[in-house]
């Protein structure tokens, strides 16, 4: 049971959080202007790196707030946790 540091509540057990997939994939401003292929890429294609990965999380059973995190997909370590209004930190 990892501890995840909610930027609003502090460290809490991982069972309080829900995972939200890759971060920094904004909904297209004008979906209608996208081709089927472009839209399908937005809907269904996500990165799956080995190592640091910027992800979305929500403190579902706490403050219900979403935030971003850079987490290592091998070690599961959280390297950075940052609010939605903060830029993605430089990763090693």
């Amino acid at each position: 049971m990892q501890l995840i540091t909610c930027p609003y509540c502090g460290p809490r057990e991982e069972a309080e959080f829900h995972y939200g997939g890759q971060a920094h994939v904004p909904h297209p401003a004008d979906p209608g202007s996208l081709s089927d292929e472009e839209w399908a890429h937005h809907l269904f294609f996500r990165d799956n790196p080995r190592g640091p990965f910027a992800e979305r999380w929500v403190h579902a059973l706490g403050c219900r707030r979403w935030f971003n995190a850079v987490r290592d997909t091998v070690s599961y370590r959280f390297h950075h946790i940052y609010r939605l209004d903060q830029a993605r930190p430089e990763t090693p």
Partner: protein, 970 residues
């Protein structure tokens, strides 16, 4: 009676005698005994028979590392697969040896099991010399300390030794240390508590055994008894900023031919039986060792009266000081010799040493010590092979975890004491505590000796009797076979041979298997490594893991404000998520089918009432609330007038339906959104996700009010009369109160509910009893009938429900449950999201294009409707299926195929039945189904396999009852 019990010494209470039964034999022991020590006191080594080969097996160690000695307890309560070496003796205990498997009780376990959380700066695992030193160091510095130890008392290795600390017996120091720890308010010291799992970020699970050692009330002769309310076992969930593993080391045997006979035991184990329990494990002893530590066993047993016939030391260079001690006691030392075999059936009778036969009844073995690195490794710590120790020791440091003492490969007592202090000080520095100056305990100088020899096995003899894992009956021959079959890693060898997979998880066999496999492969053991250590360290009963989370406490049960009324009415329940909902209300003699047909007919013929309070309700407020909902629902919400209601469908970005429900506009900037019962939490999270991650500029606030509002649909042609009676201030005519509108009203004062003296604060600011209760009525229908949904503060729900029922009495108002609700909605083809949909269904597939706005430039999912896949002509569409046989019931989930006969596989599938019921109104069965190009098939006959036969069904318009909607307005 206890022929091998010494007259004095040890940690047992000879003034009290316990009676117990083992393998049918009545025996005696004392408080402080384990079952194993009590058996050995009677000269009983053999506990059972091995699982595969049926070979006699005995007690081979003194604690959890014993690979033999599995027993079944029958009294006081049946429990399988315990170790004789770890079961504390109680009066009246009845047990028997088992070959690997036992039996579970066939009656429910009435004991309590619970769990507690604990938070610590430093968790110390193991209360031996290392752990005690570490805990003292941390406690004195002011840290919050948890100290857990699996034995009945602190001391660890010292309990089975004659070591001295600070010039006195080591156990005096242990007593002083535990007394000092007890004086710290922030120290939690738990004995009989096994840390069995070490997880991320300092999270450790430990099992505390709280009552078994107290015996059952009828058997206790005196002293403490277990109060019936006290939990038998407790799982501690410990979260520590730093974890110090001070779990000591396990002695390792050497593998040789016929090394499994009863009477063959680890040398340290025999020493523990002697010093802790006052038991001589044998009278005629041979010691076989590769290191100095076993000499102490030879010397101590000789001093206690045993005849030690030889110390067989595999090393050519023997430790001079120890040899001298042996010579003084007349113990011959055979240097550079090996044990090559044994004799005896029920018990060892002789040892073969290089052609020489030495009679004995006890063979003590020591192949060195394996640091107990399990809890370090479980948390992801890597191990490295130490060639000097012939063992795997902790490798690189890990944040928040350290290992000290025997578990880190430290061999001598003095070293352990110092290492415990060092490790604690290291951890304290990182935690911001300053260690205080205090004298370190001083151990008696140890006897200088010779380096250990790494010896995994003695090759002479038959590999098939050279046991590596005694519990699994796995031998050197099995490892050779695995390697012959191509296994090249220990993980593969483990799985091929099953070595290390028994109750002991390879505490003695794991490293041996690595060593022997490395030898056979001709590779260095350090390169081959060891198998991964996984929780639990020792077996944990499922009852303990379940704790109190069983039965009705397994998952929270949510009940509505009217629950007690449903109970009194004899409702049969359906679990919907965590909610308990009445499924139907059977009258005497009715089964579900009869009750549901009656309820359906009553609703369509008169009036019924449903408890719909479980529907999810979300209060959406803010200047941008209308815009926000407009973007989330497929249909137009922004144009909804205050006072009106709209049915809405919500889709994912992929265009698939994820929820549906009604939306009430309460004000220009306020909406009340109803979700499905099961979708409430997910819809709130979905809304929050869009609001926070995509549209943070929208000023909208979301609040769950599911439990604040009770919701009672009053449904049927007579519902207008009922509502008009209970709410006389409301004009219930269709003109004044049309479909898809809502009205606020009040319920007059003359009502029950609560005491007039209840202060306003305790009423949550609600009206006093002499004031009116606000009620919201909505003209929505989930059945096609005239219907009014009554919404009221849950506080008054029961009173309002009872008024509605009373007012409906003259119309025969019928409470109905979810089953009837489902039949009525299915007759109208109102889909249940998650039953008639499965995440691949669009609103168009459901025939609800009317609920998809063509005007809105954007809503979530809109773009996806234009994807090629969503334009396919053969998409599955919701249709009704009418079996040609009007009485035939199609099971939900049935496949729909073309027919009329079954072709060769693969059989093209047209779709499947999503909902199926008997209709009282149609006097026939019907079903909803998702069928490929279903709408173009209306009128056609397709087939459904039911109970082995293929039955014809007609594809029909999804709305099978009142398709023109004539009943909606009464």
């Amino acid at each position: 009676m206890n022929a091998l019990r010494l007259p004095a010494g040890g940690r047992i209470d000879r003034s009290t005698t316990y009676e117990f039964t083992f393998n049918g034999q009545r025996l005696t022991g004392h408080p402080g005994d384990t079952l194993a020590s009590a058996l050995l006191a009677h000269g009983i080594h053999r506990t059972g028979t091995s699982i595969k080969l049926g070979r006699p097996r005995g007690i081979a160690a003194a604690w959890a590392e014993d690979p033999n000695g599995l027993i079944q307890i029958e009294e006081p309560f049946p429990e399988p697969m315990l170790l004789a070496t770890t079961v504390e003796l109680t009066d009246g205990l009845t047990a028997r040896g088992i070959p690997g498997q036992g039996r579970l009780a066939d009656v429910p376990d009435s004991a309590r099991y619970d769990a507690r959380h604990s938070h610590a700066d430093l968790l110390v695992i193991g209360a031996g010399p290392t752990g005690l030193c570490a805990a003292l160091t941390a406690a004195r510095a002011g840290a919050r300390v948890v100290l857990v130890d699996e034995q009945s008392e602190a001391g660890g290795y010292l309990l089975g030794s004659t070591d001295r600390i600070d010039g006195g017996p080591a156990l005096d120091w242990v007593a002083a240390a535990t007394a000092e720890l007890a004086g710290f308010a922030d120290v939690l010291h738990l004995q009989r508590t096994t840390a069995f799992g070490h997880f991320d970020d300092g999270f450790v699970l430990a099992l505390e055994r709280r009552t078994d050692h107290l015996g059952t009330p009828t058997h206790v002769l005196g002293g403490e008894t277990a109060p019936p309310h006290k939990s038998r076992q407790r799982v501690w969930r410990i979260r520590a900023r730093h974890v110090l593993v001070a779990a000591g080391a396990h002695e390792r045997p050497v593998v040789f031919s016929d090394n499994d006979r009863p009477g063959i035991m680890l040398a340290g184990g025999a020493r523990t039986y002697l010093h802790r329990y006052g038991v001589l494990a044998g009278r005629d002893v041979v010691v076989f060792t590769t290191n100095d530590s076993a000499y102490a066993a030879a010397v101590d047993l000789a001093d206690a009266g045993a005849r030690v016939h030889a110390v067989v030391d595999a090393r050519a260079a023997t430790p001079a000081a120890w040899v001298q001690k042996c010579v003084r006691r007349g113990i011959p030392v055979r240097a550079g010799r090996l044990v090559t075999g044994t004799e005896g059936v029920e018990r060892i009778t002789a040892v073969a040493v290089a052609g020489e036969r030495i009679p004995c009844d006890l063979l003590l073995v020591s192949g060195g010590w394996n640091p107990a690195v399990h809890l370090f490794s479980q948390a992801g710590g890597t191990l490295r092979y130490d060639g000097g120790l012939g063992a795997f020791v902790p490798g690189e440091e890990r944040d928040g975890v350290s290992v000290a003492g025997g578990a880190a490969g430290v061999a001598e007592l003095g070293g352990c004491l110092a290492d415990g202090r060092r490790a604690a000080e290291g951890a304290l520095g990182g935690l911001g505590f300053v260690p205080v100056d205090s004298p370190s305990p001083v151990a008696e100088a140890h006897v200088d000796g010779q380096p250990s020899l790494v010896l995994w096995r003695v090759a002479d003899g038959d590999q098939r009797t050279q046991f590596v894992d005694l519990q699994r009956d796995a031998t050197v021959a099995d490892i050779a076979c695995a390697i012959g079959a191509g296994m090249r890693t220990v993980e593969h060898v483990k799985r091929y041979t099953t070595i290390g997979t028994a109750h002991d998880q390879g505490k003695t066999s794991g490293v041996l298997a690595s060593g022997i496999a490395a030898e056979l492969l001709g590779r260095p053991v350090g390169e081959l490594g060891t198998t991964t250590f996984r929780p639990p360290y020792t077996p944990v009963a499922f009852a303990a893991l379940a704790g109190r989370d069983r039965g009705s406490l397994f998952d929270p049960e949510r009940t509505t404000a009217v629950h007690a009324w449903h109970v009194a009415r004899g409702a049969v329940w359906e679990d919907v998520g965590q909610w308990k909902r009445p499924r139907y209300y059977p009258l005497p003699g009715e089964d579900m089918e009869a009750a549901v047909l009656r309820e359906c007919a009553a609703v369509r013929g008169g009036v019924g009432i449903l408890d719909g309070s479980t529907l999810g309700k979300i209060d959406v407020q803010g200047p941008d609330a209308a815009e926000f909902l407009n973007r989330l629902y497929t249909n137009m919400i922004a144009t909804l007038k205050v006072g009106s209601v709209r049915y809405g469908v919500m889709c994912g970005a992929d265009g698939m339906v994820i929820d549906d429900g009604t939306v009430l506009r309460l004000a220009g900037d306020r909406f009340l959104v109803y979700t499905t019962t099961g979708g409430a939490a997910a819809v709130l999270e979905w809304m929050e996700e869009w609001l926070q991650t995509e549209w943070p500029d929208l000023r909208v606030y979301l609040t769950s009010v599911t439990e604040q509002w009770a919701t009672f649909p009053v449904v049927g042609p007579r519902s207008r009369d009922v509502i008009g009676t209970v709410f006389p201030d409301v004009d219930v005519s269709n003109a004044a109160f049309p479909f898809m509108t809502w009205r606020d009203t009040v319920l007059g004062s003359n009502r029950s509910g609560h005491d007039a003296s209840t202060p306003r604060s305790a009423r949550g600011g609600r009206p006093a009893p002499d004031q009116d209760v606000p009620v919201r009525l909505a003209r929505v229908s989930f059945s096609g009938e005239l219907a009014y949904e009554v919404n009221v503060d849950s506080w008054y729900a029961r009173a309002v429900w009872e008024r509605l029922v009373a007012a409906g009495e003259r119309h025969g108002i019928t409470p109905y449950g979810t089953e009837t609700m489902h039949v009525l909605r299915a007759e109208k083809a109102y889909p249940i999201v998650g039953q008639d949909t499965d995440g691949t269904v669009t609103p168009h597939d459901l025939g609800m294009s009317w609920a998809v706005s063509k005007k809105k430039p954007f809503f979530v999912g809109k773009r996806s409707f234009h994807r090629a896949d969503n334009q396919r002509a053969d998409r599955k569409q919701l249709v009704a299926l009418l079996p040609v046989d009007r009485n035939l019931f199609l099971p939900e989930g049935s496949q729909v195929i073309e027919g009329p006969s079954v072709p060769e596989p693969p059989i093209p599938m047209l779709g499947h039945v999503t909902s199926s019921y008997r209709s009282a109104a149609l006097e026939r069965t019907f079903a909803l189904a998702l069928v490929k190009a279903g709408r173009t098939r209306i009128g056609e006959t397709v087939h459904v396999p039911v109970a082995g036969a293929l039955v014809p069904v007609e594809v029909a318009e999804p709305v099978v009852f009142d398709p023109e909607g004539a009943r909606r307005d009464g």
